[in-house]
């Protein structure tokens, strides 16, 4: 009779797993011990199709979420399930169904309003909490949905916030432009923004007058006529509502035509702060201002997020897309900790009562009103300084002083 201990590959695997767990660092072990049973969060984003680039930027924010939680000693670990909506509402809907059938306790997404609404309906019907990371259509939280919360400003909040910030910027700079020209891309986003700006402008009693609104085709390859027209107005300020490629064309043309307004300040659009813009435009990309929600550089959690993002994605800039998606994950994590359960009703009830003081985006604590909207998100002014989008307003979060008016194209400060 032999008395040998059988040591199979399976038992070896178990031994290794056990040893790893025992030797895990203390905070992580604490986290694993405190988290309710595996919390599955389905992340639905357009990682392919027309919005792929932004969808992937959003996903990067979620990819490092658990690392940041561990850093911040948050006793929770999310099991993140990724689903691609392919930039289509119908795919978003089927993917949401698939995620719920795969056991998702919460849904997060979906960057775009159409896709988010498609997901919201599934969430409502199946009674699964849905956290909107980015989507600005006010209707999302005006429809009486019971299972939705949104941690992103609505379009009127974005524009209103930008107008308020303009006044602060002029006050801090001690100079106020008297005239402005709106230069806008004529796609859905641009048309919607211009409509909103025109509707809200009179209510805010702005110190400047919009002397001209110029729009251009989304597929344009040349903005020489539009810039010449804008220059002819002799406006003090250019307010572009743009995307990435047209932002580059616009600045190139301004340099070429030597048009130097006091400032180029977008009222809440992408383009000017993007990594590719800064890389391509070099010194001409500096000093432009974007009025968008941004990461709070003073927050310890932002620093941790930046550290892990840089380590995992050294070639990609962390921007508001990654920031808001990370925050959506943070909200899911906090709800899970508060609910101490993975049941939908408990999670939704926790979401409604949530107050998250420590987070990454500029603004007050994350808290949702009765409709599920976080009303504490603050607008910020980001100025490109030394090829980096830098917070200059609000003062409490500023990491550098505002430069206003912007130096001319040939100014020595542009290096």
């Amino acid at each position: 009779m032999t008395n040998r201990i059988k040591f199979t590959r399976r038992s070896f695997g178990r031994a290794v797993a056990g040893a790893s767990l025992l030797s895990a660092p203390m905070p992580l072990r604490y986290a694993l011990g405190q988290a309710p049973a595996a919390v599955k969060v389905a992340l639905l984003l357009p990682t392919s199709g027309g919005q792929a680039q932004i969808g992937q930027a959003c996903k990067r924010g979620a990819d490092v979420a658990n690392l940041v939680f561990a850093d911040m000693k948050l006793p929770v670990k999310l099991e993140i399930m990724n689903y691609d909506t392919e930039t289509k509402p119908d795919v978003a809907r089927t993917q949401a169904e698939k995620a719920i059938e795969a056991g998702a306790n919460m849904l997060v997404g979906a960057f775009d309003s159409g896709q988010s609404i498609a997901i919201a309906q599934v969430a409502e019907q199946r009674g699964v909490p849905f956290i909107v990371n980015i989507a600005a259509a006010p209707q999302l939280t005006e429809q009486g949905y019971k299972f939705i919360v949104r941690n992103f400003p609505t379009a009127p909040m974005l524009i209103g916030g930008a107008f308020e910030l303009h006044k602060e910027i002029f006050k801090a700079a001690g100079q106020t432009p008297k005239t402005a020209v709106l230069l806008s891309i004529n796609d859905t986003f641009g048309t919607s923004m211009i409509g909103g700006i025109k509707a809200m402008f009179p209510k805010f009693k702005m110190p400047y007058e919009i002397v001209e609104t110029i729009s251009y085709d989304a597929a344009t390859k040349d903005l020489s006529v539009e810039i010449a027209k804008a220059k002819a107005t002799k406006a003090d300020m250019l307010m572009p509502v743009c995307r990435l490629n047209d932002a580059k064309l616009m600045i190139q043309e301004m340099v070429k035509q030597r048009w130097e307004p006091m400032i180029v300040m977008n009222p809440g659009s992408p383009g000017l702060y993007e990594q590719d813009f800064l890389k391509t435009m070099g010194k001409y990309g500096d000093y432009h201002i974007s009025n968008v929600p941004w990461l709070d550089p003073k927050s310890a959690m932002t620093k941790s997020l930046e550290k892990h993002h840089l380590a995992k994605f050294p070639n990609d800039q962390l921007d508001l897309n990654g920031g808001f998606t990370f925050e959506a994950m943070l909200i899911a994590a906090q709800a899970c900790l508060s609910a101490k359960s993975t049941k939908s009703d408990a999670l939704m009830s926790a979401l409604r009562g949530l107050k998250v003081d420590q987070h990454v985006m500029i603004g007050g604590p994350i808290q949702f009103d009765a409709k599920g909207q976080n009303v504490n998100i603050a607008a910020s002014a980001i100025q490109n300084l030394k090829r980096k989008p830098t917070v200059v307003m609000p003062k409490a979060s500023a990491e550098a002083d505002l430069v206003f008016p912007m130096p001319g194209w040939a100014d020595k400060r542009r290096t």
């Binding site: 199946r126 859905t188 048309t191």
Partner: protein, 323 residues
């Protein structure tokens, strides 16, 4: 239709009717997509498969139908079963304008296709700037939880499943009837050789106009269903050329001019789509689906240029051939 075909069809119908009892939410939503694309494919097939007129702007009719019915419901409380008449009317009027301009001035082939795209595009721009329709910010329908109101098309997935199933079955029966009718024969004659058809007394302009308006009307119904199912409409997606192309794929892959082609095409395309989506999700590679999906389409078009259904039908002894 032979006995085997009738038996096969009966089993299929029984399975489809029982589907909500057999399938979970995800598979039911996939089946809804199959039926939707089968339905719009059938509607597009009338124009291209039967009458031989290439339209690449069918999203125009679906978008118009959806916007009219949704707008009437949102602004005036007019339910979709009433609003559908206005929706169909608007789409028929648009189809008549496109058709008359194209057929009266003898625009054919790609030139007619360009005309259909152009109408879709300028309608999109118009809706982008039309406040009544919500402009570029979109139009949203109110959603109520736990309601099952067929009169206002407010309800859950199962209700929408049966509505689209009825529509797909209705479109199938209508197309079968049309193909056997005198009008259907005229369409086939026009498709093969319009000048020869005219020479033997076929009222070509009239027949083409009927094809475009009927196709537009059916597509508008799909638009109404789509608007109430998804509860939102954006000009950029409702009138997108990409959406028009999607409508053409099922009949092309399934078998142009056949009755079952759009259905088979929708099953294959949606099935492949879901399979490749799963693969993309599992391998965490975004865009993998699009690459394999494109390759699969290429292989199907290369090896079965007449579509999959005629080949399957011959193998199974159903013997439906492209008319």
């Amino acid at each position: 239709m032979n006995v085997r075909a009738v038996a096969g069809l009966s089993i299929l119908l029984a399975l489809l009717l029982a589907a909500p009892l057999l399938l979970g939410g995800y598979w039911l939503s996939v089946l809804i997509l199959v039926l939707y694309f089968a339905y719009v494919g059938q509607a597009w097939n009338i124009m291209m498969g039967f009458a031989g007129q290439l339209s690449l702007g069918h999203a125009l009719y679906a978008g118009l139908g959806g916007y009219v019915a949704a707008g009437l419901y949102t602004h005036y409380g007019i339910g979709p079963w009433m609003g559908v008449f206005a929706a169909v009317g608007a789409a028929v009027a648009a189809g008549a304008i496109v058709g008359y301009l194209g057929f009266r001035f003898s625009l054919a082939g790609v030139y007619f296709a360009l005309l259909t795209i152009a109408f879709g595009e300028f309608t999109r721009i118009g809706f982008d700037n039309w406040d009544w329709a919500g402009g570029s910010g979109g139009m949203f329908l109110k959603v109520e939880r736990g309601v099952s109101d067929l009169a206002n098309l407010r309800g859950g997935t199962v209700m929408f499943y049966y509505v689209i199933l009825a529509m797909a079955a209705g479109a199938f029966l209508l197309c079968r009837y049309l193909l056997e009718s005198r009008l259907g024969r005229y369409w086939l004659a026009i498709r093969e050789d319009a000048e020869a058809a005219q020479a033997v007394g076929v009222p070509v302009l009239w027949c083409k106009m009927l094809a475009v308006t009927l196709s537009a009307a059916l597509t508008a119904l799909a638009g109404v269903w789509n608007a109430f199912y998804y509860n939102n409409l954006f000009p950029e997606t409702a009138f997108a050329v990409g959406r028009s192309i999607e409508m053409t794929l099922s009949p092309i892959i399934g078998g142009l001019g056949t009755l079952f082609g759009p259905f088979v095409g929708a099953v294959v395309l949606t099935g492949l789509g879901e399979l490749f989506t799963d693969l993309s999700d599992q391998f965490h590679v975004s865009g993998l689906k699009q690459i394999f999906y494109g390759l699969a389409l290429l292989i199907i078009v290369m090896y079965r240029p007449a579509g999959i259904w005629p080949w399957i039908a011959t193998r199974l002894g159903f013997e439906e051939k492209r008319k």
